[in-house]
Symmetry: C2
Subunit: 305 residues, 2 copies
């Protein structure tokens, strides 16, 4: 049985403070701390490319867990901000890490639902092809597309990358997943002429309406009651959306952490960054749920081995 | 058991003749007809986006085979030339076809190896999640990135899209796959500053060296001798590479068709376009092999039900 063995992540040291933009955007401390829940956003260096963020996440993984690169049989990068579109970032990372020729590499293009989707895809792909060790990267540096003068996006999104070691020596194993798409609403969050556009209210309403039902459905599919789940790691879209979803599900907020005050919404890396700190913790069952660009969502249940 | 039920494809009507570029590039009829094997390349309209090509491929599928959109549980688009990077093209196609909310959608970023890889990924993903019907699109219009004055690329690549209906009523089912990556060679074929660069000789040498061994390995994994395989549908990189691989494997060339004289190398759509015409044919076993951008390769075996 494959599952998650370890997670490494990298959050660049650069920051833009939202307190320094209060006047520009007409916002106050309450908005920063309690509504969006982002005091500062992480910013990569201009010389750091998406593949570089992946390599630094891999170095963080190796600091926790020995990884023999000659064992790696598959590598996926989840991104919608690749170094360039041709080739896939996974090939560049494969080259930089000097992985074996027989290693399967591909990128998955998804946004904030990307980690949950990709974990399901990667687990299925590795299992079907009898693979034992693979690296699942998430790296979506939105600073490449965010207009620093756009209040709807620039206060929220931070740069980061994570890498999840999926192996046959797991700490957590996934159960059944749920997936969904509202393609007719894709215009609510999209790249227009090289810049990110987001209708924040529409994306909030979609998330508040869709995600609680999807988490209930996922729990049903896994034959578990919501109150039996120890921890809910939701995509950290904003503090208010995480709290809204927790309240709609009538789950105590302490079971649904929001922790990204100091680096922002890191897209598909938000869940693995949280999960890294829970991987060897007490929670026996952890629900994960990503939602955003597409519009798209996915939920899953992780159980401790 | 899931597999390929039907395939639809769309090749835009626009063409650029290579005969009309003989003087510009200092090439002759022998080069056009026997070396690259591309008399003209297909060109999409300037108003046609990647998602539009997908929709037209889907219409071609529906002309062959009734498809009830409410049955579609998963949709993948393989592309490295999306409409834009955010959102994924699959979400846009999902919206245009008005597919169910519970349909899983994601894009896979791969080039010429993309169909074979994605068939393995899609089959594994659908099987693991108990899905019965899905749409696997390939659509990579290189006219978006090819410099019309670059001899190395503009004579070769054509625009097209294909859609493969993967279902539990298959005509052909996949066996075991092989995959590979030479990430250290990714610079041989990549987008630089918005334009495609290709070191044609290096990519040819890589393909001629790597692909025959991978096809042998794939046959071994499937427990079949090369001479028992009825048909080999290779990525149609050029006529000379397809013939070189056939000759290295000592397979009669009539078992290894090259057919893309009139539209060119359509990247990840080249194999499904060939396969569409063989889907209800006599071949009982069909090897498929894609190779290119990454550098990347994958092989598989399809067996008639």
């Amino acid at each position: 049985m494959l599952g998650i063995e370890e997670i490494g992540y990298y959050i660049p040291a650069g920051r833009i403070s939202n307190y320094g933009r209060k006047e520009q955007y007409g916002i106050d401390d309450n908005f920063i701390e309690n509504k969006i829940g982002v005091k500062q956003v992480a910013l990569k260096g201009t010389d750091e490319e998406t593949s570089d963020l992946c390599i630094k996440a891999f170095e963080a993984l190796c600091a926790k867990q020995e990884v023999d690169c000659s064992d790696i049989e598959a590598l996926v990068v989840v991104t919608q901000n690749p170094d360039q579109n041709i080739p896939h970032v996974s090939a560049m990372v494969h080259g930089a890490l000097d992985l074996p020729g027989a290693c399967a590499c591909f990128d998955i293009s998804l946004g904030c639902s990307g980690f949950v989707y990709a974990l399901a895809v990667f687990q299925a792909f590795m299992t079907a092809n009898d693979m034992k060790k693979g690296l699942l990267f998430t790296a979506d540096p939105y600073s490449k597309v965010v207009d620093p003068n756009d209040k709807n996006t620039s206060l929220l999104f931070g740069d980061a990358a994570a890498v999840t070691l999926v192996s046959d020596s797991p700490s957590l194993v996934p159960g059944k997943f749920t997936f969904g798409t509202a393609g007719v609403e894709h215009q609510k969050l999209m790249n227009i002429g090289g810049s990110l556009f987001m209708n924040g209210r529409a994306v909030f309403n979609f998330s508040a309406k869709t995600v609680p039902g999807d988490i209930r459905l996922m729990a049903d599919k896994n034959g578990i009651a919501l109150e039996e789940i120890d921890l809910f790691l939701l995509h950290q879209g904003s503090k208010i959306i995480v709290e809204t979803i927790a309240d709609k599900l009538e789950i105590p907020r302490e079971k649904v952490p929001y922790r990204t005050y100091d680096y922002g919404n890191t897209i598909s890396s938000s869940i693995p960054i949280l999960l890294a700190d829970e991987l060897h913790g007490a929670a026996k069952t952890i629900a994960i749920c990503g939602f955003g660009v597409g519009l798209s969502w996915a939920s899953g249940l992780l159980t401790r081995v």
